[in-house]
């Protein structure tokens, strides 16, 4: 492989891990409440800003800004589910899809978060969180990577592993999965379904927030950075939209494909890539590139 190609692939993997982290958040929400969280990007943005404010204004040590931001955004996510979505679902009109109302709710949340951040004059300029780890670039053969790039990849893998362990071994994790697969049966065996839904939303939101802190040194933060959710959606769809490992693979595929298109087609076509990917995958393989069988429909 040419050095050009190798660099494009390496860089694509790093960016792809960022997409994957956000995609994980979207998929957790989807599995819990059957809705696309269009505020997912704004949760990422909020995470970046909270981390930055905690570091620069509150003077927290770097390692503590992760739990700080995660906690705040966990609460926002859980409250949104409890206060807004529960009400929307509870008042559903028979025969009419509540999906639209729920999606508009999340879009409303995205405007609220963006609007709340924008009133702070500090956010008028593009900002960058100092990197979690810095130092001279690392050379792997002809490929050059930054410390933060490695940190992102490591963190993405670690979070993946932690999520897998959480869903496989902990009681709450198992309860979340049960609720996602069949809420009625879960309620029958005594799982507090409403609490589970709040937990899922909080968890997803916190995950997005942590992703925000990780990518803020790399991609910079502005109140409008939430559009990155589009790339995360594409990553999730490549992965089948219900599979957590699929998301990670999907993110990486997307990151690499974007760079290959940029290198061998044109830079202008990079921004078209996620949309083409979404359409092609949904039309040809709606179950995602990595899943063997069709997606089971929930009843």
């Amino acid at each position: 492989m040419s050095p050009l190609l190798l660099q494009g692939v390496a860089s694509g993997i790093v960016t792809g891990c960022v997409y994957a982290l956000i995609a994980l958040s979207l998929v957790i929400v989807y599995k819990s409440s059957d809705v696309i969280n269009f505020a997912g990007g704004e949760m990422v943005m909020l995470g970046g800003y909270l981390g930055m404010f905690a570091l620069l204004w509150l003077g927290l040590p770097y390692i503590l800004i992760f739990p700080f931001a995660a906690l705040v955004i966990f609460v926002i996510g859980a409250l949104f589910d409890r206060v807004v979505l529960t009400r929307v679902v509870g008042r559903a009109v028979p025969g009419q899809s509540i999906l639209v109302a729920m999606i508009i709710g999340t879009v409303g949340l995205s405007y609220v978060l963006k609007g709340a951040v924008r009133v702070i004059p500090y956010t008028e300029e593009v900002r960058r969180l100092p990197p979690f780890s810095s130092g001279a670039p690392i050379f792997i053969g002809p490929v050059v990577l930054q410390h933060q790039d490695i940190a992102i990849v490591v963190a993405a893998v670690a979070i993946m592993a932690a999520l897998w362990a959480f869903f496989s071994f902990t009681l709450i994790g198992k309860a979340l999965r049960a609720t996602s697969q069949n809420p009625r049966a879960a309620a029958l065996v005594g799982i507090p379904v409403r609490l589970m839904s709040m937990t899922a939303w909080g968890l997803a939101a916190a995950l997005a927030g942590v992703a925000g802190i990780l990518l803020a040194p790399k991609l910079l933060i502005t109140p409008d950075m939430g559009v990155i959710v589009i790339l995360a959606l594409a990553a999730a769809i490549i992965g089948g939209f219900v599979s957590l490992p699929g998301c990670v693979a999907g993110g990486i595929v997307l990151g690499v494909v974007q760079n290959l298109i940029g290198l061998y087609v044109s830079s202008r076509a990079i921004s078209l890539a996620p949309f083409l990917v979404i359409m092609i995958v949904l039309l040809l393989r709606p179950q995602g590139l990595f899943a063997g069988k069709a997606v089971a429909k929930k009843v």
């Binding site: 807004v84 009419q96 999906l99 109302a101 508009i104 709710g105 879009v107 949340l109 429909k297």
Partner: protein, 316 residues
């Protein structure tokens, strides 16, 4: 309810037509401009409501068809000299055909997947409007020449206003007929339950595809309306924010009802103007307030405003 809508309901359109001819004599152009905008959005909303409110298909592609209609009408006129009265139906037809082409494969997808596929289509369409600069003018935008209809020159707010009122009235009538027709009933049946619908002999896929195509034609017509009172179009006009606005309009107004769509358009369409004039000194908070309004609407009015009004009337 089968067949034609009652004459008494058609008579309700008289005020619209009268206003269409009288208001241009009374109001400053600013208000006529807002009125034109609302009438165009009303057609867009009626079309989206057919697909979403009546057929229950959640698609994001509407704004792309609107763009196709706008560019097609404008370009047919600028490049080929096709007059508006032919250009707009052609543009609507083109939007409808592309809608059909999208509709058939898209009917295999349900709920979130359909939403995402059509969302991607809309974004890709916007990318094409931007990148195909030889035709669309690309990011510099396209200047629209003032069209004329049988020698009547349009292109300003007062001259376009009656024309838009007539088109809106026709589209409302078409919607009334459509929703009480066999196809309209089939669409409702699919919305309620696809299994029951297909068990009662409805061709689910064909009905969905028709709903897509017809809805896209409405958007194409709205695109033509755009060229009647606007002089400029650029790809930003067809962004994600617009489809969110449109969806919010029909949800806030009340899904699956003509008055609901119209109420939603009027309220949310005027909201930016209202916020701008009432929030002096607090302009920066507009975004936050808009978000709260959206959340509040879906929380407190699950059937939309029209559903709320109709519900109260019904309970009396």
């Amino acid at each position: 309810m089968y067949g034609a809508p009652p004459l008494s309901r058609l008579a309700l359109l008289a005020p619209l037509l009268i206003a269409g001819f009288v208001l241009p004599l009374l109001l400053p152009q600013y208000f006529l401009y807002l009125g034109n905008f609302l009438m165009m959005f009303a057609v867009l909303a009626l079309g989206l409501d057919l697909l979403l409110g009546w057929a229950g298909q959640f698609a994001f592609a509407h704004i792309a068809f609107f763009g196709i209609g706008t560019y097609a009408t404008a370009l047919l006129q600028i490049r080929l000299g096709v007059p508006f009265v032919i250009g707009m139906p052609l543009a609507a037809l083109l939007a409808g055909l592309i809608g059909l082409a999208i509709g058939f494969p898209a009917t295999r997808l349900r709920t979130v997947y359909l939403a995402l596929a059509t969302f991607a289509f809309a974004e890709a369409a916007q990318w094409v409007f931007n990148a195909w600069d030889k035709v669309t003018g690309g990011p510099d935008g396209l200047r629209i020449a003032a069209p004329s209809i049988f020698g009547y020159r349009v292109g300003t707010d007062p001259t376009a206003f009656p024309v838009l009122a007539i088109i809106l009235a026709l589209m409302i009538v078409a919607t009334m007929y459509l929703t009480t027709s066999k196809l309209g009933r089939a669409m409702c049946a699919i919305r309620e339950s696809e299994h029951v619908a297909s068990a009662s002999g409805i061709d689910v896929r064909a009905t969905k595809a028709w709903a897509f195509a017809i809805s896209a034609m409405y958007a194409g017509v709205a695109g033509g309306m755009y060229t009647l009172f606007q002089s400029f179009v650029n790809p930003d006009t067809f962004g994600f924010g617009q489809i969110v606005l449109l969806l919010s309009m029909i949800v806030v107004g009340g899904l699956g009802s003509i008055p609901g769509a119209l109420i939603g358009v009027a309220l949310l369409g005027l909201l930016p103007e209202v916020m701008r004039t009432t929030m002096r000194g607090l302009l920066i908070w507009q975004e936050l307030v808009y978000g709260l309004i959206l959340i509040g609407a879906v929380m407190f009015m699950p059937r939309g405003i029209w559903g709320f009004i109709a519900g109260r009337r019904g309970s009396r």
